[in-house]
Symmetry: C2
Subunit: 411 residues, 2 copies
């Protein structure tokens, strides 16, 4: 079994077990441990209503070193009030107390109150966690911690909700002569199943890097990947991305925005792009994805706004599902996006096929257009004719299966 | 046959015929004629890309009197460049030339260039109109013009695209002792079928009123009805609302914002609300509608923004389709709406059932919640706890049928 999991970078153990949160009996509790302590950075949802886990992790991420991340699926611990907060703290503290007893960790600097532990949750909103099951599960997971490929895969499975498969990626680069590895596991694009929430992304790396640069690299990578994918058009209450850097690769530490930083940062972005494509194609009911590139915008913000308006547009998403080259819907979405545009210069192409040019429809080959839109992935390019800025978004199709998943789940 | 059509108000003839734009052979060309000439007001789409018909009607509405409205369905005449503009002008001019020859019209003040005629189109975007068929159709429609209930109903049918039934309403009121009648016909909520565009609303009334007040009353009614319904979250390239006032009711003309104006304005709004509910329940694949009321907002704009974010939220729309009381999705939509809110005062109810209060979930009766959400219509009330402003939106469910309609149509 080739290891392509989060346990590939040096210094990380993982586990994934079932503790009974999910009625199906599937894996629902995951753990990542960095016995040496990792520098950590994070990006959280911008939703004004955040899960208890997000609220607690936002505090704990301030600790200089993080020793573990504990994650449950099947329950989002969101909109759960004061009890929810208490339960999230309990998850961290329980994990910390176990790590203190694990020889591998030696417990040296792990605080008993769990401030060195991050927590994430995903699943049903508005229901309290089955905290007793979770406490027992944390003990069980701690016993299963391992550097193995299986342990990494189990973690990737344990964070899934309606995802149909675990989504993972690994990248290796040389940094000042040392081999640096970055690995990631991600779940769910957009909101998942009724009352379900969350994109959760966990990245491990053994690079030696300062905390501010680790944070900068993560934010940049997220902004150009995960934050460019829109499935439902909303950020959930639970969205969380965490990167842990063990510093064990042996590279000369990255402490300035030098070429080594750029190299690391670019590969991190590449890893995130790989994961985001896996997410788009595994979005609820999705069968196809597409990239929207907007050019000729008066501002970068306008380009992003227009690209997102297109990627979010239900009617276009339905058309892509049907493999129909309905470019009129693209133009309609652009027109109502609230961005500056020149109607007489507005142009649109599907991959390299020009369907609308300078405000006039073209006599394009419809069969070719259908072929393009029927691919697993295609690119929509729109030129607003209003400036020189460009930006992009990823989208996926909207299927009857999406509606089914989201309408038929019983609360 | 009781007449509940746009021919009820005094002074209006109508017709609806099939001229072969729709392959199905269904009615696709409608005409309203006011031989005496009507004062007219309009509201057009705010989409920056507008159909040729919208561009031409925006010019023609400046004429002091409008003698006719000509409408085609099956082709939106949008994104059709210069030829599209020419064809829209031709539709108006052809209508005007025929009216000049009709004895009922006497042709006195009808200009041959069609500047006294309004035009509207709905259907496929990006294809040129079959203008020869339409010219023949206009002649045919002119011959069929009548005050009858059948003529009014035929008009309501001729403007339909994927609508499953004609949508009409009539209201009568006394204004300074005279009976005033208002009648409306509307098609389609949101975008319809692939590449289809448009909400089209046509209102006839015999009230005597000044043009500025007619315009003011229409804008107010639209803003509180049609503009509060979101099906796809986008305004189309073709959205058009037109009101024609023949002035033949015999009331003392309304020339100030007096109680008579208020009375007329309120009844016009009531008529539009009636039509908007018909639209919501006849939206593509829709089986249920809901009203979202947002209270406790810091500003009116925040209240509207939050209400719209909820009504537009795909996951909630799916849940309503499934009859599932997934209040967590409501809270999630509110949190990402970008409005001021107090998480500790945030509350939510479904009709009168409180499901979330002051940031904590309540122990509500789930069966009762399911019953509420399974109704044809229910009200979601959210209190942001951040101020005293309130606003509302209407939404409808999202069904697999919606996806089917919008994915399987072949271009």
């Amino acid at each position: 079994m080739v290891n392509n999991t989060i346990t590939v970078p040096k210094g990380f153990l993982a586990a994934g077990i079932g503790c009974g949160i999910k009625k199906s009996g599937k894996l629902d509790l995951g753990m990542i441990v960095c016995p040496a302590g990792a520098k950590a950075a994070s990006v959280f949802t911008t939703n004004k209503i955040t899960s208890a886990a997000v609220q607690i992790s936002k505090e704990h991420i301030k600790s200089p070193k993080i020793f573990a991340v504990v994650v449950n699926s099947g329950n989002a611990n969101a909109c759960t009030g004061r009890l929810g907060i208490k339960n999230a703290i309990t998850m961290c503290a329980k994990t910390a107390s176990l790590l203190g007893r694990l020889s591998a960790v030696e417990g040296r600097r792990v605080k008993d109150d769990g401030r060195n532990v991050l927590v994430a949750s995903t699943g049903i909103i508005g229901e309290q966690l089955p905290i007793k099951k979770i406490i027992a599960g944390i003990s069980n997971a701690a016993e299963q911690l391992s550097f193995s490929a299986k342990a990494g895969l189990d973690f990737a499975k344990a964070i899934m909700t309606t995802d149909t498969k675990p989504k993972q990626a690994v990248r290796k680069i040389k940094v000042s002569g040392a081999e640096v590895t970055i690995a990631g596991a991600v779940k769910g694009a957009g909101m998942i199943a009724p009352n379900m929430a969350t994109t959760l992304l966990f990245i491990t790396t053994d690079v030696a890097i300062s905390k501010p640069l680790l944070s900068r690299a993560l934010k940049s990578a997220i902004d150009n990947s995960i934050n460019r994918l829109t499935v439902d058009g909303h950020q959930s209450t639970n969205d969380t991305a965490i990167i842990l850097a063990s510093g064990l690769a042996g590279n000369r530490p990255i402490v300035t925005q030098c070429p080594r930083y750029k190299k690391f940062s670019n590969v991190l972005m590449e890893l995130c792009e790989d994961l985001v494509k896996q997410m788009a194609l595994d979005a609820e009911g999705a069968t196809r994805m597409f990239k929207v590139v907007v050019k000729g915008a008066a501002s970068k913000a306008d380009a992003a706004k227009a690209a997102r308006a297109i990627a979010d547009y239900n009617l276009l998403k339905c058309a892509v599902h049907g493999g129909e080259p309905n470019w009129g819907r693209i133009i309609c979405a652009v027109g109502s996006a609230g961005v500056k545009l020149n109607p007489h210069k507005l142009s649109c192409k599907l991959d390299d096929l020009v369907v609308f040019k300078n405000g006039e429809p073209t006599l394009f080959d419809r069969k070719e257009a259908s072929r393009i839109v029927s691919q697993t992935t295609h690119t929509i390019t729109v030129d607003l004719g209003a400036g020189k800025q460009t930006d992009f978004y990823y989208g996926c199709d909207l299927s009857a299966e999406y509606v089914k998943i989201n309408a038929e789940y019983h609360t």
